[in-house]
């Protein structure tokens, strides 16, 4: 897929340009802008995934010497040994002996940027997610690159170390933890088949099939936001709607919930970055 990157990126750029031209002409003809936006949206969903641009940027950034230590991330060990990116994302979160912690991909990425490149942790995680219309953050493009290198790989989140088991068990309890002014838990929306909020389908993450699809398709390019959104973002934004305080990037609770979802998804095949509404 990556060998064919340049061709596909150009095709996408062309499609986007045509799409914009279409909107200008629609406005000139007085077409309903909502209908036009939906048409544009459908077109984008069909004609390629803009996340491919982020994957290409992420690969470049991964290999670039940066930071106070002027080092690339090529020596980063994300679970399969230093320098191995292919297939690693599908086996995370997992226990790392050097930190004595269970880490998800994004936490491990931050760890490598701090230890290998010499960045300060608080600077790296200060603004992990891009805002509307802003360019993707370093964490977003690096994550897009790493997850793309696991496309088609079977999800195998380990449960062998005691800390991995404890992370799953905490994540499971957190999934059912009701709190806040609305009394919501993750399970309020994600523990029953066939439910929706408005017209949005809600996956039952306690079931193998929907759990596999959810884990396999994050990170994703969100067309409605024009951005690549990572698994950490997905959780953060769920908790916003749950009326909880702000989930810290790379926090233990985030890792525990990703472990819970990942183990439920074991056996599925990664298909990310995906493209979503």
């Amino acid at each position: 897929m990556r060998t064919n990157m340049i061709g596909r990126v150009s095709a996408f750029a062309l499609t986007a340009a045509l799409g914009m031209a279409g909107i200008s002409s629609a406005l000139a003809q007085g077409k309903d802008p909502t209908i036009e936006a939906i048409e544009k949206y459908r077109e984008m969903l069909q004609d390629g995934n803009p996340a491919e641009l982020m994957v290409a940027k992420g690969e470049e950034l991964w290999k670039q010497k940066r930071g106070p230590k002027n080092a690339s991330l090529e020596a980063c060990d994300i679970g399969l040994g230093a320098g191995v990116v292919d297939g690693a994302y599908a086996r995370l979160p997992r226990y790392f002996a050097d930190t004595n912690e269970v880490m998800d991909f994004e936490s491990r990425l931050v760890h490598c940027m701090v230890t290998l490149q010499g960045y300060k942790r608080e600077d790296v995680i200060k603004k992990p997610f891009s805002g509307g219309g802003q360019k993707a953050t370093d964490l977003e493009v690096l994550t897009a690159y790493a997850v793309d290198a696991s496309r088609g790989v079977t999800i195998a989140v380990p449960q062998s170390h005691q800390k991995e088991i404890a992370s799953f068990k905490r994540g499971e309890k957190m999934f059912y933890f009701r709190g806040g002014p609305y009394d919501f838990s993750c399970a309020t929306c994600h523990a029953v088949d066939g439910q929706r909020i408005r017209l949005q389908d809600l996956p039952n993450l306690t079931q193998e099939g929907p759990a596999r699809r959810a884990f396999a398709t994050w990170p994703a390019y969100r067309v409605s936001q024009g951005a690549v959104r990572t698994m950490q973002w997905r959780l953060n934004d769920c908790f916003r709607q749950q009326r909880f305080p702000v989930l810290k990037y790379g926090s233990q609770a985030s890792i525990d919930l990703i472990t819970f979802l990942g183990v439920n998804a074991n056996g599925g095949k990664m298909d990310s970055p995906a493209i979503k509404r």
Partner: protein, 204 residues
Amino acid sequence: MINRTTFIAVSCASLLAGCAGLVSVSDKEVVDTLKASFSERGIAKLDRLDQSELQKACSEYARSDLPKPLREKLEKAALAAVKYPADGKYLGDWKKGEKVAQGGRGLQFTDKPGAANGGNCYACHQLDKKELSYGNIGPSLWNYGKLRGNSEPIMKYTWAKVWNAHAFNACSQMPRFGDASILTQSQLKDVMALLLDPASPVNK
């Protein structure tokens, strides 16, 4: 039995593997981990992670039925705390109620305090049939008043249900719109009218 326990303990100690049954996580550890994992922003403070007795019970029994005495205790306490309208009038303006039912803002860490909250009824319920974008976590409320009428007992029950749904179903998924001060008394009356006023599109 003793031999088998010893065997499991040995294999766990030596391999750190295959001991899922021996790793236990306490509720306190979960709460402490959550508190360390969130930060306050705007109106969303960390005390939102302090569970009420009801939230705690409904988390613990999320995958099984509440023991009957606990369920009855929670429902009774919820019903006893319902505040009915001081002026005895239950029905406001269904048109305003429709706006409350459509609006979803409020109480998120991105929301500013002060502005009116929405009830977001359509997120989970069908109401006016003209609105096609409705969720299905709760039952359809189409023809709610037409099917039930708007006698005093029906109005009183409906008010209590919207005020605190736990009064009738201890671990209901529905927010406590009155009890948790999500909606004001006047907004609640408007929603009541949307459900019960014969002129409301819900009852056409």
